[in-house]
């Protein structure tokens, strides 16, 4: 696939403050052992992209620690492979960009040095296992200036969270597009993924800088919809939205459904979602553990009950504890006889013996990283 990939590691839309205080959006943990970036990176690699730039802004230590050399995705190449594009690189100088256009301008030299004909730009705020080759072929054949991506199966997107919507005609051409908190009747939710000719993108960026434009969507794409051929491609894959905490919990728990799991984690599709490995021991279950409808990673010790939950690596659930409808992240400990319901524990949380913590599906109970309750 003759395209260079650009991944924006930061969020410009989603409202996941709780999880992104100490990490960039792309580094948010998901589905027991992944980070959001894993889905975008794996989709790109699985469709044959071999040159990827990862645009970061701030708080990217945990992201760097996760992707490291890119070896897990076979991206630790001598040339190309994975390039981390931190702030302050070149053209735009000393400002820390707060939109995609500035971010691209700051990394103009990366685009210039790339040899691929096309550029695929992706956000990190959606999770899906998408065949990007189909999408790419559609773009090339349609001879569009830009092609976006949408799915009819976007799950858990929330009202009141900003997103891109578009009206798409029967040929796949976008006739109207807006940034809105409510999707208009009949509109499609675009997942902030765009294919464009690389030279064209470079011209657009240079022009936009000269014209003092700031937003790729608002100032560049939307005004172009009327005049130019902007297309949208429909993927058959499900897309899980992560608009806010409620949506984050729901999207995790949706993976307990066999079909969703097979779709997103790519069982048997030949499109594996790859992630950083860790030398975890196998998960050990005690004499009295009870388990039901749960996704459980490696390195855990489960001595209590786990039901309808997603458990990350290295979690310990002690005797008598009952965990339901919850997401427990890496290396957290749930003490004896604790009760958790609709809870999200970030990494390394310790819940002491006997506590009872319960949120509701629309209002999950959230515990910050490293906290002790």
């Amino acid at each position: 696939m003759d395209a260079v990939g650009i991944i924006f590691a930061n969020t410009y839309d989603a409202d996941l403050n709780e999880l992104t205080q100490k990490r960039t959006l792309a580094a948010v943990p998901f589905a027991g052992r992944y980070r959001l970036i894993d889905f975008t990176l794996s989709n790109m690699v699985n469709s044959g992209i071999r040159n990827i730039g990862l645009i970061t802004k701030g708080n990217y230590q945990s992201l760097l620690g996760h992707v490291r050399t890119g070896a897990e995705w076979d991206l630790d190449r001598k040339n190309s492979g994975l390039t981390i594009l931190p702030p302050f690189s070149t053209m735009a100088g000393e400002s820390i960009y707060d939109n995609r256009l500035e971010a691209l301008a700051s990394n103009f030299s990366f685009l210039r040095r790339a040899r691929e004909k096309y550029v695929l730009m992706c956000d990190s705020s959606y999770v899906g296992n998408v065949d990007l080759k189909e999408y790419f072929d559609f773009h090339v054949q349609s001879e569009a200036v830009l092609t976006g991506l949408y799915s009819d199966q976007v799950m858990n997107n929330q009202k009141g969270v900003k997103g891109t919507t578009a009206m798409v005609d029967s040929d796949g051409r976008i006739t109207e597009m807006e940034i809105t908190k409510e999707s208009p009747e009949g509109s499609k939710i675009l997942i902030n993924t765009w294919l464009i000719d690389r030279e064209r993108l470079m011209e657009i960026i240079e022009q936009a800088i000269r014209d003092n434009k700031r937003s790729l969507r608002r100032d560049v794409i939307i005004p172009a919809v009327e005049k130019q051929k902007i297309m949208a491609f429909r993927t058959d894959s499900r897309i899980l939205a992560l608009d806010n905490l409620q949506s984050y919990l729901a999207s995790n728990l949706d993976l307990l459904d066999k079909d969703v799991r097979a779709d997103i984690l790519g069982t048997g599709k030949g499109r594996p979602i790859l992630t950083k490995t860790r030398d975890s021991a196998p998960t050990r279950y005690g004499h009295e553990s009870k388990t039901s409808n749960s996704l459980i990673a490696d390195g855990c010790v489960i001595e209590g009950d786990v039901k309808n939950s997603v458990i990350f690596r290295g979690v310990r659930i002690k005797k008598g504890a009952v965990v339901e409808n919850s997401v427990i992240m890496q290396d957290s400990t749930v003490g004896e006889y604790v009760n958790l319901n609709y809870a999200i524990l970030d990494k390394n949380v310790i819940i002491q013996d006997g506590r009872m913590l319960s949120g509701y599906i629309t209002h999950p109970f959230f515990c910050q990283r490293n906290s002790v309750i």
């Binding site: 021991a281 196998p282 279950y285 005690g286 004499h287 039901s292 490696d298």
Partner: protein, 396 residues
């Protein structure tokens, strides 16, 4: 090659054994590559011991069915052994100008690779066998070796008197110096059994390997030939008593038993030890999914498993499927095995990718049966019954 001048100690890991007593598990793979403990392979323990003991140069001598082992070892990166100077190197048999030889015995295998040792010019060479499960700090043994100014140090464990005649047995004086060594003696004079872990001072190792190679009728074996020859010559040979966890997994029964050591509230073989990490090569996997009907008690379960049945007192490897209503008890269920609805498996080893069809019954209670083994890739048909103690190598 001009780089760091030299290494203090390098390891040579003998991984060429066929492991025929472990058949059918070793039908297609070398013994060190046999999966163990849900996520590991047998060789992971020796390799991790090396790295945890600060030995960063390991030659792995292969000969038998090495394809899987080579792939598994890959570039050594799983054990942080992908170094420019040092690291993990696979040493297969080869042909030279004067023709080629398979490795004839443990000593001959090292002899043929003296060139590899010389490249790193180490003062000491650690010889390992790569088919035991143990967590040993070789650096402590090396310190002892240096302190004793020894020519050779042999690691030993204390075995029960009645088992001593199965091992190479050391008699030592009060300073730990070996005065006698007997290979599988009928009337053992001590209970100190060789673990097959040796540290040699390099010059002595080379001298005795070359001599052994020119000795008519030698089996070119460390235990049978080299060690006795050194003892005869009065070299400084010491024993090093190891007291930690150590299991020989040379037979199906001992393999099963060592796997069971990872179970329990305080497992005998503790795998989560942050101070002595066992590293392994990762293959692609997903989190495990436990269904609504699942019931898991005193078991470990590997990645990518989909379990909606029952597992009691068992070690479940990766990619295993246990369907609703199926039950495994006292079992080692290896990678990719499938246990269909209503099947019942007790006190058995189910090798990689074997399939136990619906309502089949395999094995019997541990208390009064022998171990049952279903070989890799075998299908046990619907409603079939496999009697306890059977080793199944053809579909039934």
């Amino acid at each position: 090659m001009e780089r760091m001048s030299k290494k203090t100690c390098i390891a040579m890991l003998l991984a060429g054994g066929q492991g025929s007593r472990l058949a059918p598990l070793t039908n297609k793979i070398a013994k060190p590559a046999v999966p163990f403990g849900s996520k590991y392979r047998i060789i992971d323990f020796s390799l991790s011991n090396c790295v945890n003991s600060d030995i960063d140069t390991v030659g792995v001598l292969t000969q038998y069915q090495p394809l899987q082992l080579n792939d598994y070892l890959a570039r050594g990166q799983s054990w942080d052994l992908n170094l420019n100077f040092g690291g993990l190197h696979i040493l297969p048999p080869y042909q030279a100008k004067k023709g080629g030889d398979w490795f004839k015995g443990t000593a001959n295998a090292i002899y043929q690779n003296i060139g590899f040792i010389e490249r790193y010019d180490p003062e000491y060479v650690l010889i390992l066998s790569g088919d035991h499960i143990y967590k040993m700090d070789y650096s402590v043994m090396l310190e002892e070796h240096i302190k004793n100014n020894a020519d050779c140090t042999i690691a030993v464990i204390d075995v029960p008197e009645e088992e001593a005649s199965r091992f190479g047995i050391m008699s030592t004086d009060e300073s730990g110096r070996i005065v006698e060594f007997e290979e599988k003696p009928e009337h053992p004079k001590s209970t100190q059994a060789s673990m097959g872990v040796y540290i040699f001072s390099t010059d002595k190792l080379k001298k005795y390997l070359i001599e052994d190679e020119h000795t008519e009728g030698s089996e070119n074996d460390f235990g049978k030939n080299v060690i006795p020859a050194m003892l005869r010559d009065g070299q400084r040979m010491f024993s090093y008593l190891y007291k930690g966890y150590w299991r020989d997994v040379g037979t199906l029964d001992s393999f099963w038993a060592a796997n069971m050591d990872v179970l329990g509230d305080v497992p005998e073989l503790f795998l989560n030890d942050p101070g002595w990490k066992i590293s392994y090569h990762h293959s692609f996997s997903r989190p495990q999914y436990l269904g609504p009907a699942s019931s898991i008690s005193n078991s470990v379960v590997g990645d990518s498993c989909v379990i909606d049945g029952k597992s009691v007192d068992s070690v479940i490897f990766s990619n295993v499927v246990i369907e609703e209503g199926a039950c495994v008890r006292d079992c080692v269920v290896m990678n990719g095995a499938v246990i269909r609805k209503g099947a019942f498996v007790e006190y058995a080893i189910i090798d990689n990718d074997a399939v136990i069809e619906a309502n089949a019954s395999v094995g019997g209670p541990k208390e009064n049966s022998a171990l049952t083994v279903i070989a890799g890739g075998i299908t046990v048909g619907r409603d079939a019954v496999v009697c306890p103690g059977t080793i199944v190598e053809e579909d039934i």
